[in-house]
């Protein structure tokens, strides 16, 4: 009984350990501070996500044009965050709808 449990937990642990680094690689975090993105350009693999964290004192509203679609993260107050996934290779422009000087290029490989 006990050994089954041990096996189960070690399996969970191994799986988690296997997944975690992948996850970390699959999501790139971009901070918003001083009305600027922490990077002007990021390169990710297709299917990966970009997480946008509002570390600022004012609200932001990140959006991206993906083909004819618009990914809109909506209003993000200080401390809030959201993610956009990029599934197809290409070059995408991310912008803050409130502060158009905040621009980020996402290159998807």
């Amino acid at each position: 009984m006990r050994s089954y449990r041990q096996i189960f937990f070690s399996l969970v642990f191994v799986c988690a350990a296997a997944i975690t680094p992948l996850k970390a690689q699959d999501t790139v975090t971009i901070s918003q501070k001083g009305k600027a993105f922490s990077e002007s350009s990021v390169t990710i693999k297709s299917g990966a996500k970009v997480r946008f964290v509002n570390d600022d004192t004012v609200a932001h509203n990140v959006y991206a044009r993906i083909g004819s679609d618009k990914e809109d993260l909506g209003l993000q107050k200080p401390g809030e965050q959201g993610e956009i996934s990029f599934d197809k290779p290409g070059k995408y422009r991310v912008r803050c709808a409130i502060h158009p000087k905040m621009k980020l290029t996402v290159v998807v490989e």
């Binding site: 809109d72 803050c96 409130i98």
Partner: protein, 346 residues
């Protein structure tokens, strides 16, 4: 044996030491607030040079031609309105009206914004519908309610005016008179329209007597309790962003009409605040007549609705504080050199 006099003599310097320490602490604190002051002042330094885009670099020939075009009413369908009719240098490049009157004597829907300091801009018009000054310039020429000039005919019209061919050739060797070049020349001229040094700039540069104590208190409120800096930041006092500040106008959806993102409903571009005294009336609809009334709007006059910016909230400013803020806004007016009317080609 320790005598009383010894003790006294031992401690006789104590008061001096105490006063000294207190003074040092005072200096230390003073230095800290001086540092805070310097950091804040650094955020308001004027830039050294005007930025010009790589695909439309500055040249004297372009700026000169751009000025002629800006002041030339023949760019309008009825040859009676120039850009300067509405963007009048006498009103710091606005027109002093609530909303202006276009070609067929139709009132426009929005108040004329200034063209001051736009070289640093990002998107243009109250709703950000133009991506560049080059693109923007052709808008009012063609607009049926502004200059109402058929763009297909504009090139021919300019070709028929002796003198323009040479001027275009000098500014744009090899391409001459084209619509694109009209836009490029006007945009270049507009980028040269920069507000000169104001009392505020002299104070930022270290001249303590350049502005009044009321204005200094106003500046502290602007960056603190009144929270104006959340949107009006930097030397030109704008984040070039779009916000709903709770004006009662609920017909015009502003930026949302160009970009359908919910938070942009009723959002308009943050205007810079340079020469703001000369630019009344205020707001996209020209609905506020005085700076006192503008500050009272932010203090408690805004309407409540979902899209009003997080940075707008009841400020609880006293009448004295309102007056201090207004005193500060007055220090942003510069004694700009007079703009001369150019002699137009005939």
């Amino acid at each position: 044996m320790l005598r009383l006099t010894d003790i006294v003599s031992r401690f006789k310097y104590l008061p001096v030491v105490l006063v000294g320490a207190a003074t040092l602490m005072g200096i230390e604190q003073g230095a800290q607030s001086q540092q805070a002051d310097d950091a804040l002042r650094a955020l308001y330094q004027r830039p050294d040079a005007v930025p010009y885009p790589e695909d439309n670099p500055y040249s004297d020939a372009k700026a000169h031609l751009g000025k002629l075009l800006f002041f030339d009413p023949r760019l309008s369908g009825e040859n009676n309105l120039s850009c300067a009719s509405c963007h009048n240098p006498s009103f710091s490049w606005e027109d002093g009206q609530k909303t202006s009157v276009g070609v067929p004597m139709t009132r426009l829907g929005r108040h004329t914004p200034t063209v001051l300091n736009l070289a640093w801009g990002e998107l243009f018009f109250w709703d950000g519908r133009a991506e560049s000054l080059e693109e923007q310039a052709l808008g009012p020429i063609a607009s049926s309610v502004e200059m109402a000039q058929d763009l297909d005919q504009l090139v021919g019209k300019l070709q028929a005016i002796d003198g323009y061919s040479d001027l275009f050739e000098k500014a744009f060797p090899g391409t001459g008179i084209t619509l694109e070049n009209v836009g490029a020349a006007i945009a270049t001229y507009e980028r040269t329209i920069v507000s000169a040094t104001a009392p505020f700039d002299r104070w930022i540069a270290g001249d303590e007597s350049a502005i009044s104590d009321a204005a200094k208190r106003g500046f502290a409120l602007f960056n603190g309790k009144a929270n104006c800096v959340a949107c009006h930041e930097g030397w030109n006092f704008t984040d070039w962003g779009f916000h709903d500040i709770g004006l009662p106008d609920d017909q015009d959806l502003g930026r949302y009409e160009q970009l359908d993102i919910a938070s942009l409903k009723h959002a308009f571009k943050t205007p810079g605040l340079r020469n703001i005294v000369e630019r009344a009336p205020y707001m996209h609809d020209g609905s506020i007549r005085t700076l006192e009334a503008v500050v009272q709007h932010y203090n408690h006059g805004f309407v409540q609705r979902e899209t009003v910016s997080e940075s707008i909230f009841a400020l609880g400013l006293t009448d004295d504080e309102v007056a201090d803020l207004v005193a500060f806004l007055h220090t942003l007016s510069s004694d700009d050199p007079a703009v001369t009317y150019p002699k137009l080609p005939n």
